[in-house]
């Protein structure tokens, strides 16, 4: 009521406050709520993949048991731990930003990036092995052991496997991009206890990537 809402602001804002927000409280709440809505759309995006998994498994329960044996449980478990650890480091990075410690934010971001790259390296090793032996999606499937047994449609398990882990992997790659961006901004000393919602939102995104994996891992690797 007291401040001018028109074109010319009578009073100074901090540089990080956009002119259409009245104060930082409003801006931070809007940013965070916006991020949660973005996560909502992410969840429904993945819902399609989970539905594809559920229906194919429902049609071919036997196939699922046999085909999942071809995945490497140990590698999956190691990757789970890598991703959980990166989630912890990200949470600690957000905490550092809440306290306004830019140096620590950058350090925790670097640790998170290491985890993200580690995850991708392990995923790459798994993928190259699958591709090498012919455990491929759909019509490319060429793995004698499974086609000769009584399993109905082993190619569908690997379609689902590659689509789910592929879309998840794509999110990891995007995560690397935004975490890197946050790290650079932290090195520029952008963040303060009043202005850290960029770190917080990237953190939320990264935790969601983790959250999805928490379900992908048992569904794909631990079927039996």
């Amino acid at each position: 009521m007291s401040t001018a809402a028109g074109a010319d602001h009578g009073h100074a804002h901090p540089w990080y406050q956009a002119h259409h927000f009245k104060n930082m409280e409003q801006q931070n709440a809007a940013n965070k709520f916006g991020m949660w809505l973005f996560l909502v759309q992410e969840l429904l995006f993945f819902a399609g993949l989970f539905m594809a998994y559920a229906s194919m498994r429902f049609f071919y329960p036997g196939t699922w048991l046999e085909a999942a044996e071809q995945l490497d449980k140990v590698m999956g478990a190691v990757n789970t731990i890598v991703l959980l650890t990166s989630s912890l480091t990200m949470a600690l990075g957000v905490r550092a930003a809440q306290l306004g410690n830019n140096g620590q934010v950058a350090a925790w971001c670097a640790a998170t990036l290491a985890g993200a790259y580690g995850f991708l390296v392990i995923k790459y090793l798994e993928y190259s092995h699958k591709i090498h032996v012919g455990l491929l999606p759909g019509k490319w499937f060429d793995f004698k052991e499974l086609t000769q047994t009584n399993t109905d449609a082993p190619q569908l398990f690997f379609s689902v496997y590659f689509m789910m882990t592929g879309v998840h992997g794509l999110h990891v790659v995007i995560g690397i991009g935004v975490i890197f961006w946050i790290m650079l901004r932290a090195l520029r000393k952008d963040f303060s206890p009043e202005n850290y919602s960029a770190v917080e939102n990237v953190g939320l995104y990264w935790h969601l990537v983790d959250l999805i994996w928490i379900f992908l891992f048992p569904l794909l690797y631990l079927v039996r």
Binding site: N23, M24, E25, Q26, N28, A29, K32, F33, W36, L37, L39, V40, L43, L44, A47, F50, M51, A54, S55, F58, F59, P61, W64, K73, A77, T80, I81, L84, T85, S87, L88, M90, A91, L92, R95, Q98, L99, G100, D152, A153, S192, P193, E194, Y196, E200, G203, L204, H207, L208, D210, L211, I214, F215, F217, P218, L219, Y221, L222, V223, R224
Partner: protein, 126 residues
């Protein structure tokens, strides 16, 4: 009405709620333990239904831990929690109604319930 703005309801001072470090480490520890548990259960040779039930229960506990502490939902504005739960609700409606169709296809008329595999069709032709 005083609620001219939705802001200011979060009781947030600058920096928001700061979770103590030991809490983060405790949550992380619990996540690791649960990962070990779920892998161990998969080696026990449970029937598929029991196996996936246990695996999903463990995953849900892990997801709750990540959501409540790492994603700060425990201290967050309640509406953000509601938003998240609403997404799960609509996901569930997608799963339940689609699955109801898949599962009930043979219930009234056996023929409509047959899931015909292409390779079986090929064999029938021969």
């Amino acid at each position: 009405m005083s609620s001219s703005h939705a802001i200011g309801h979060d009781h947030e001072h600058a920096g928001g709620h700061i979770t103590p470090l030991p809490v983060y480490f405790a949550v992380y520890g619990a996540l690791l333990v649960l990962t070990v548990v779920t892998v161990a259960v998969s080696y026990m040779g449970l029937p598929p239904l029991q196996s996936i039930t246990v695996a999903m229960l463990v995953a849900m506990v892990k997801a709750t831990l990540v959501g409540a502490w790492f994603m700060h939902l425990k201290y967050d504005a309640k509406f953000n929690v509601f938003t998240f739960l609403a997404a799960l609700w609509f996901m569930a409606s997608f799963f339940v109604f689609t699955f109801y169709d898949l599962a009930s296809r043979g219930m009234v008329n056996e023929v409509t319930g047959q899931h015909v595999l292409h390779k079986d069709m090929d064999e029938q032709k021969k």
